[in-house]
């Protein structure tokens, strides 16, 4: 009888210690998870910031001024646009018949 009691006592003690250990581990893991979440939020915020910054660098006004000033580009007008159509679609009505001097024609 005494022996069984003693064994049970040991078992209880062991399980109690194990519980303490598991609790400790769970807290550590939870803490790590929480930090990972925080990092995810930080990265998300950073990505949002970078997206906005990218957009701010590519606004039409900036693109236009750069294209004009740096690259000497001009706005395309219908007069210098060659309209092509696919397959059976009617050929572009916009083109006058005497544009044989233009570049490659797409059938």
């Amino acid at each position: 009888m005494t022996r069984i009691n003693l064994m049970l006592l040991l078992a209880v003690l062991a399980s109690a210690l194990y519980l303490v250990n598991v609790q400790y581990q769970s807290r550590q893991l939870f803490s790590a998870l929480d930090q990972a979440h925080a990092q995810a939020r930080r990265l998300e915020a950073e990505s949002e910031r970078l997206q906005v910054e990218q957009r701010a660098q590519a606004t039409p006004s900036r693109v236009q001024s750069l294209a004009r000033a740096k690259l000497q580009m001009r706005t395309a007008t219908p007069a210098i646009t060659h309209y092509v159509s696919y397959g059976n679609a009617a050929p572009a009505a916009a083109l006058a018949p005497n544009d044989t001097g233009s570049g490659a024609r797409v059938p």
């Binding site: 807290r27 950073e46 039409p60 007008t77 219908p78 916009a94 570049g103």
Partner: protein, 577 residues
């Protein structure tokens, strides 16, 4: 044997400890144990609740989980407004480390003079003082690196508007608390804001979260909002408008671009505008979304509706001649005149030349109720269905109160008022073969179902007249644009000031459609108080219309419907033998 404990067998070392002493020790230890067990029982069982609560107070924390405010996107998914992290810097003056060198660095990072910083930190009784709200993330990191005691940061969000002033009136802005104040930000604040969540956690002594307690309320992020605005069209419209306002030394201007197929607002711009990021010295003039909040007398732009009604009632055909000589007509004691006499004009030419007399002659053959009903059906005197703060309904008086002279003036657009947006919307009737399209600021797809107001044949007939108005002999040849056929109506109106009309203060405007055979867009332009002598709508507003139409149709990928002389430079010449 005496009553003592023998610790050894040697009589020399035998102590004389009395037995009661050891008994006393055992009893004392037993008592101590009982005390401990009782205390443990008290803590664990009897007063358990109290101690649990105390533990919670010391280590438990409720953390707010802020919801992200939704983004505002244009029709192609480009960002018009987005929230990014921008920590606010605050201090407890009493605790601040008085290290001059580092404080100077701090002042520099905060972009404030040293004296200002000193002043803020001077009052040591205060326990909280903002140093600067919403600094850049990079600046905040540098401030953290300074490691000054008593300086703290609070996580906040700042709204960014990459498109700046071009779309400021549409998008609006938020205040420092991230609440919408103007434009879409205000109109859709509820959708954009989302709901903050919270959770209860236990923190250890290092401040790390080690355990979650109870239920967690998840934050609900704000919905992203996709507008019907196309940021490129918006920018070009704004740019052309700005150039025109500056060129004509005008006070202000507005432009509206409407897709008549889907009813979407592609662009809505006003000048003067403002940069949402720099709102320090904002004036009411800059802030006003004129296209929606300012009403004016639409003038000649109303004539097509009267003509459409005359066709609808079978009073005339487009080719019916009308005598407008001698360029004057008397209604009661008042006289209405044309800018110069035209003689006999067909109905089409009445629109083309914008003859007041011709229009009035037709209008006087109608009942006031019929005219009122026509105006009302195309949206005059009614609030537009866009959910915009401050959108006005304009003024269209009940037909019972109309006197004959008022009916006459109303036929050419005086005596009633409308916003530019309403005018653009009303013209969708001509663009959609007689259907009024419902407008929307949010992206929608496909063809919107409209309400038939006039017969398709008559709408097409009026469209042809509008086309003539932009042709040779019309009032607005400057509205023509390369590659696309256009049609539209000019308007020039005296500005009202107080009770009467202001002398030499005008508004020039133009409303038109393109391409004329199968309209895709309505563009309305208004230039307020041009100051360089030119003030006719055909002079100041039509060129803006022309350029806006050109850019918009090109960006929508619509093929030119008018033949243009190609100027494509030959790339390769045929080999000569």
């Amino acid at each position: 044997m005496s009553r003592s404990i023998a610790y050894t067998s040697s009589p020399l070392l035998a102590s004389r400890t009395p037995l009661w002493r050891s008994k006393f020790i055992v009893a004392a230890i037993a008592l101590g144990s009982v005390g401990l067990i009782a205390r443990a029982a008290y803590i664990q069982v009897v007063a358990n609740d109290f101690f649990l609560k105390q533990g919670q107070v010391r280590f438990g924390r409720t953390l707010a989980m802020p919801a992200n405010r939704g983004r505002i996107l244009d029709r192609n998914g480009l960002i018009l407004a987005s929230s990014i992290a921008a920590p606010s810097i605050w201090a407890i003056p009493e605790d601040v480390e008085r290290d001059p060198a580092r404080l100077r660095q701090l002042a520099k990072l905060l972009e404030m003079p040293m004296t200002e910083l000193d002043k803020r930190l001077a009052d040591e009784d205060k326990t909280f003082v903002w140093l600067k709200r919403q600094v850049d993330d990079s600046v905040a990191k540098q401030i953290t690196a300074l490691q000054l005691k008593g300086i703290y940061q609070r996580k906040e969000y700042k709204r960014q508007y990459p498109e700046g002033e071009a779309s400021a009136h549409v998008v609006g802005f938020t205040n420092v608390e991230d609440k919408g104040q103007e434009g879409i930000e205000l109109a859709f604040n509820k959708d954009l804001a989302g709901r903050a969540g919270s959770r209860r956690v236990i923190k250890n002594r290092l401040g790390q979260v080690v355990e979650a307690v109870g239920e967690q309320i998840e934050p609900v992020d704000g919905r992203d909002l996709q507008l019907s605005i196309d940021s490129k069209i918006q920018f070009f419209a704004y740019q052309k408008l700005r150039d025109a306002v500056l060129l004509h030394k005008a006070k202000a201007g507005s432009v509206v671009v409407l897709d008549v197929v889907s009813g979407e607002v592609l662009a809505l711009a006003n000048y003067p505008s403002y940069s949402p990021a720099k709102r320090r010295n904002l004036s009411g003039a800059q802030l006003r979304n004129r296209a929606l909040t300012d009403t004016f007398e639409p003038g000649s732009t109303m004539k097509p509706f009267v003509i459409a009604l005359a066709l609808e009632k079978g009073l005339v055909k487009p080719t019916t001649p009308i005598q407008t000589a001698p360029g004057r007509i008397s209604i009661g004691r008042s006289t209405i005149s044309d800018s110069h006499p035209h003689g006999v004009l067909t109905v089409s030419e009445v629109i083309q030349k914008s003859s007041n007399v011709g229009t009035v002659k037709l209008a006087m053959q109608m009942q006031p109720r019929e005219m009122w009903s026509m105006y009302n059906q195309v949206g005059f005197g009614q609030k537009p269905s866009v959910p915009f703060p401050g959108a006005v309904s304009g003024r269209l008086r009940a037909y019972k109160t109309w006197r004959p002279i008022e009916q006459a003036t109303m036929s050419y657009g005086y005596g009633l008022s409308s916003s530019l947006f309403q005018l653009a919307h009303a013209y969708s009737v001509f663009g959609r073969d007689g259907e009024l399209v419902p407008v929307t600021m949010l992206k929608s797809s496909g063809r919107a179902a409209g309400v038939q107001v006039i017969d398709a044949r008559h709408a097409r007939a009026v469209r042809n007249m509008l086309h003539m108005a932009t042709g040779p002999g019309g009032t607005a040849p400057k509205a023509q644009t390369m590659g696309y056929s256009v049609g539209g109506k000019t308007g020039t109106a005296h500005k009202q000031e107080g009770r009467g009309y202001a002398d030499k203060k005008y508004r020039g405007f133009f409303v038109g459609l393109a391409p004329i055979e199968q309209p895709r867009i309505v563009v309305a332009v208004m230039i307020d108080e041009p100051g360089d002598g030119k003030y006719f709508g055909g002079e100041v507003a039509a060129p803006v219309f022309s350029e806006t139409v050109q850019q918009t149709l090109k960006m929508l990928g619509i093929q030119p419907d008018v033949s243009v002389i190609p100027q494509i430079v030959a790339q390769a010449e045929e080999e000569s033998f």
